[in-house]
């Protein structure tokens, strides 16, 4: 199913640069303002209080997303990571932004014992995820390629801005880059607006907040897909700080040769993860942590609950049969309860606060 909409607008720099304009969304509360636009192959949403801060916050988020896209998008011919992936291996000097993004990806790999691995680039390409997701459906008749297990994150060396990439290793930062983007965008928007106030940034459902939250936290819906009405067991929670992220095998699916595939790849096999969980959500101090944890849990399969318990993160797991499990203090069933976001970070803690232009 494809929906198309065309908007006639006046020329602006952002549109000429391929950036879609922000659309104001009814917030339902006078004290908040919300806007949304398409970004990074998915949607970006900004919520702020006071409402007068919305323009400044969106401008700051624009700068962060533009920089992140140029650094880490595998689908841009002119991105820095495309330059790396086509370099045939060797020693590369990275920008500050990509250094940080690769550093987070490697830290996530270390933390998760390799369940999240940035060297799955070839695995995804072999499965057919070799272009922006919006273009993948056109190839449904072709069979998938031979599975390519990930070469291994521990073969990649990052020393400061210097990256040594073995020949034949291609990076994909999909499991962490959106989280990094949400963290950067929330911090940048907050810095741009000044106190008092607060901001929430969501990139395709990976959410980070900064500043002062609304009373009891930002109200956030937890769901399988972007449309809660179509999701199994949606839940309303309140996010007082940090971040919450969700990974799901029900989204970003495509078919090859009659086989249904999805984008969360098990690095050990090079195939889509086939564990018992269809959706995992987690809250953490940073969105990069939350994003890495939820992806790792999908890949970990039956070992996910034990591993998540060791992290101490509140998590919500939805099994393929619809059963819902709650871990780490995630509020069970009750709508509107506050998530107990723990302090500390495993993957995005040693970095300096990003600015909007990085």
């Amino acid at each position: 199913m494809v929906m198309a909409m065309t908007m006639m607008t006046t020329t602006s720099m952002s549109e000429l640069a391929g950036v879609t304009p922000w659309r104001r969304i009814a917030a339902g509360d006078d004290a908040l303002a919300i806007a949304e636009r398409d970004a990074l192959g998915t949607s970006a949403r900004v919520a702020v209080w006071p409402p007068a801060d919305l323009g400044r916050a969106c401008a700051a988020v624009d700068r962060v997303l533009d920089a992140l896209d140029r650094q880490a998008s595998r689908f841009r011919a002119d991105s820095e990571i495309t330059w790396l992936n086509h370099g045939g291996g060797g020693l590369f000097m990275l920008s500050d932004g990509l250094t940080e993004a690769v550093g987070v990806a490697l830290a996530a790999a270390r933390w998760t014992g390799g369940w999240v691995d940035p060297t799955v680039g070839d695995a995804l390409i072999s499965l057919g995820y070799d272009r922006d997701f919006a273009a993948i459906d056109q190839q449904r008749g072709e069979p998938p390629g031979v599975p390519v297990p990930a070469p291994g994150w521990d073969r990649v060396e990052l020393h400061g801005p210097m990256l040594r990439l073995p020949p034949g290793v291609r990076l994909d930062l999909g499991a962490t880059a959106k989280g990094v983007g949400s963290d950067r965008a929330a911090w940048a928007a907050r810095s741009a607006c000044g106190p008092p106030g607060g901001v929430l940034v969501s990139l395709g459902g990976d959410i980070a907040v900064a500043g002062t939250s609304p009373r009891d936290g930002w109200p956030v819906t937890v769901a399988d897909g972007p449309d809660p009405a179509r999701s199994a067991a949606p839940q309303l929670v309140r996010l007082p700080s940090g971040a919450v992220a969700t990974s799901s095998v029900t989204c970003r699916q495509w078919r090859r040769g009659g086989q249904s595939l999805h984008h969360i790849v098990d690095p050990r096999t090079g195939l889509p993860a086939a564990g018992p969980w269809q959706t995992v959500s987690a809250a953490a101090a940073t969105c990069a942590d939350a994003n890495a944890a939820t992806t790792a849990a999908i890949v970990a399969g039956p070992r996910a609950e034990d591993w998540l318990a060791t992290t101490g993160l509140p998590a919500r797991l939805v099994a393929r049969d619809g059963e819902v499990r709650y871990l780490g203090g995630w509020p069970a069933a009750a709508d509107g309860a506050t998530l107990p976001v723990p302090p500390g970070t495993h993957v995005y803690g040693g970095v300096r606060r990003p600015g909007g232009g990085r």
């Binding site: 602006s12 998915t42 106190p195 939250s213 009373r215 506050t338 500390g344």
Partner: protein, 140 residues
């Protein structure tokens, strides 16, 4: 002297009884000398204390700059239940001062919404076309 031999052999003698680290026995020159030593020791103690405090303050300041998320989250951990004070910079605090928000402002989910955007010019105006793909499971 023993201490001279020790220095020549590369060893640094530890202070012991009879060394200048101990107060001298009372004598004609002892009061002045003892006061001087006590003054130096007091100054040393104050210097050491100042160094410890300064090092601690610098460590806290650097940690605050290097770990914004951890710092903010730590500040919020207590605030989750009781509404704590806002942390500095871009940190987050559960809102004793934030507004009341009653409606969901965002959905955390698998990122199924994708968009292809093309831009071209028609009659002098820019036309932006968005082709949006619904999540594939809607098709299945």
């Amino acid at each position: 002297m023993d201490s001279d031999r020790a220095y020549r052999s590369g060893r640094v003698p530890l202070p012991g009884p009879g060394d200048s680290w101990q107060a001298d026995p009372p004598g004609p020159a002892a009061p002045v000398r003892g006061q001087g030593i006590r003054h130096v020791r007091r100054m040393s103690n104050w210097t050491a204390a100042a160094l410890i405090v300064g090092t601690g303050a610098a460590t806290v300041a650097l940690a605050h700059q290097a770990l914004p998320a951890a710092t903010s989250a730590a500040g919020t951990g207590a605030a989750t239940g009781a509404g704590g004070a806002a942390t500095g910079g871009a940190g987050t605090a559960a809102g004793a001062t934030g507004p009341q928000a009653t409606h969901s402002v965002a959905t955390t989910s698998g990122s199924g919404v994708t968009t292809t955007t093309t831009t071209h010019t028609v009659n002098g105006k820019t036309v932006v076309t968005h082709v949006r793909h619904a999540p594939a499971y809607h098709d299945n």
